[in-house]
């Protein structure tokens, strides 16, 4: 079990309830937009979503899906 530590979400310190047993018990705001990393360089959707696909490009129609599926 990981030791408890404060969460900082959108600049606000969040507490993990002492009786939290699972990830689902951690209260998360629904409007989390980002976590700022050290170098702050995050790629926005517009970086790639607007790339014109060349003629003949065989697109991947599946969504990339990682994690535990929660």
């Amino acid at each position: 079990m990981a030791s408890k530590k404060p969460l900082i979400i959108n600049g606000e310190v969040q507490e993990v309830p002492s009786d939290a047993k699972t990830i689902a018990d951690v209260a998360l705001p629904s409007d989390v937009t980002s976590v700022i990393t050290r170098d702050g360089e995050i790629v926005p959707r517009s970086r790639f979503a607007q790339v014109p696909l060349p003629q003949g490009f065989d697109a991947n129609l599946s969504q990339t899906n990682k994690g535990r599926g929660a």
Binding site: E41, R47, P54, Q55
Partner: protein, 511 residues
């Protein structure tokens, strides 16, 4: 080779590795994230090696790139993925690395969802993406794509290769990456799952028992796992090889195309009269196998720029140079940079005027961390000598014949430099060991003068040099692998105009 039986390793630049960790394990992070990197996958003698230098394109995606992002799941938008794939297709990168995190876990493991997603994406690569490149050259160069996945957790990472084309009915299509190296000031491996194999009961091993009190078990494990590429098996290299074996290194690739001559016996470690006429690399390998029970040596008696030698060297973990010419150092500099291999070089010189002095020199190149041999701030390589070597084989032979004497090359024959070679080899071996043990900052340059009784030592603490921004080699070649050709004497443009030898004659002259 079947995907699930091959050796696969991954080599990170330290800055990129820390950037990935910072993105995926940022303090306060409470949802999974996904990022991608483009890399180069190289088939080496030691297996497939994935090169991820600091300059690798890396894309940590923001929240608006996902259709779903929760504590335990992340789903990337198809338009983002396809835009990235279209740009990837147009490059010459041959490896795409997807990275996500299980930020809530201490140890990293791929989940069933990850398994399914990796297989699905790989089928797209094999059945659609690669055939598309083969059909439409305007989209990008046709090539086989290496599909790598990494998952970070708080204490470890897991990494694997997926290739559904290599899957059999019974075997999985994934191959665990067993070694993840982070190029840093000292030897560093990322904590991976499954854990690296360790060697138990070091203290009970009689061959190593006297080291156990001062060489940590972790260092012993590391140096027994790595492969050292030793280039130059002459007077200096023969001592260096023996020093490294007796220190605990166990796997070697030796490269030298020279034979032992009678004049070498005054300095060739362990050389005997009956060894005259034998290949230095083969004879040294035979001696090394007798030093310990588990020494593994591959001896290659060809020129350094021979295909066989270079293929073997691109798969080693550490390069050691005991060469006697700067053209070889120039090539080693390229191998080190292009394949992200730390390189430790030893050299000696005897001057006779105004008075005899015995000088030794050591330097190291840590690609992406230090300057390379051409941008260190001190002249380590005589560029004119390199040009001569690559342009004119006759000049090369004359320079080699001059031996160690640098101030009167045409007047004094090769001296008996055994004592000086011992000094230089000892210094180099000590620094190689320190690179793994991290007792003190890694030395980047050491110069010793016997007459002046002077030792000048620069290391990562007192002179933390970095690759020069104006260095064309560091900026262009670091981590490119075989995407850019290594320098080759017989293939240089200049040699085509300055030599009338046939390729066969050239090979004979170097062999």
């Amino acid at each position: 080779m079947d995907a699930h039986t091959r050796n696969v390793s991954l080599r990170f630049g330290a800055t990129l590795y820390e950037r990935m960790r910072a993105f995926h394990l940022a303090p306060g992070k409470a949802h999974e994230s996904l990022s991608y990197a483009w890399a180069r996958a190289e088939e080496t003698a030691a297996g497939l090696r994935i090169l991820l230098p600091d300059s690798s394109p890396y894309f940590p995606f923001s929240a608006d790139c996902f259709t779903r992002q929760s504590a335990g799941n992340v789903q990337l938008r198809a338009d983002v993925l396809n835009g990235m794939l279209a740009e990837f297709a147009a490059t010459d990168f041959n490896c795409i690395v997807n990275v996500h995190d299980h930020w809530f876990a201490q140890e990293a493991h791929f989940s069933a969802v990850d398994d399914e997603d990796d297989a699905r994406f790989d089928r797209y690569l094999r059945e659609q993406f690669e055939p598309m490149l083969a059909t439409y050259p305007h989209i990008g160069p046709a090539r086989d794509i290496v599909n790598v996945s990494i998952v970070f957790a708080q204490q470890s990472l897991a990494a694997r290769l997926t290739n559904t084309m290599h899957a059999s009915c019974t075997a999985a299509s994934t191959t665990a990456i067993e070694l993840v190296t982070v190029l840093d000031n000292h030897w560093r491996t990322a904590p991976i799952v499954p854990a690296e194999r360790t060697i138990a009961a070091v203290a009970n091993d009689e061959e190593r028992s006297r080291h156990a009190e001062f060489i940590p078990a972790s260092t012993v494990n590391a140096i027994e796992r790595v492969t050292v590429g030793l280039v130059g098996c002459g007077g200096l290299g023969s001592i260096l090889a023996e020093s490294l074996v007796r220190t605990g290194f166990r796997k070697f690739v030796l490269v030298d195309d020279d034979e032992i001559e009678a004049t070498n016996l005054n300095r060739w470690q362990g050389g005997r009269l009956q060894d005259v006429g034998t290949q230095k690399a083969y004879t040294l390998a035979a001696r090394m196998r007798g030093f310990a029970t588990d020494v593994q040596v591959t001896a290659i008696a060809t020129a350094l720029d021979d295909d066989v030698a270079l293929h073997a060297l691109t798969g080693v973990d550490v390069l050691c140079g005991g060469v006697d010419n700067d053209a070889a150092r120039w090539l080693l500099n390229h191998v080190s940079l292009q394949y992200m291999i730390p390189w430790f070089d030893a050299g000696v010189a005897i001057t006779t005027a105004p008075a005899v002095d015995f000088a030794s020199r050591y330097f190291s190149v840590l690609p992406g961390i230090t300057g390379c041999a051409m941008c260190k701030g001190v002249d380590l390589i005589d560029h004119h000598e390199v040009v001569d070597e690559y342009a004119d084989a006759t000049t090369q032979r004359a320079r080699r014949a001059a031996g160690y004497v640098i101030d009167q090359p045409l007047m004094v024959g090769t001296p008996s430099a055994y004592l000086l070679n011992q000094l230089a080899a000892s210094s180099c071996a000590m620094e190689v060991l320190n690179y793994f043990a991290a007792w003190r900052p890694t030395a980047t340059l050491i110069q010793k003068s016997w007459r002046a009784d002077r030792i000048a030592r620069a290391d990562r603490e007192n002179y933390a040099e970095v690759p020069s921004q104006s260095c064309a080699l560091c900026s262009t070649y670091t981590g490119v692998g075989s995407a850019l050709a290594l320098p080759r004497r017989n293939r240089s443009v200049l040699s085509l105009f300055t030599s009338s030898q046939s390729p066969h004659e050239k090979e004979m002259s170097h062999g």
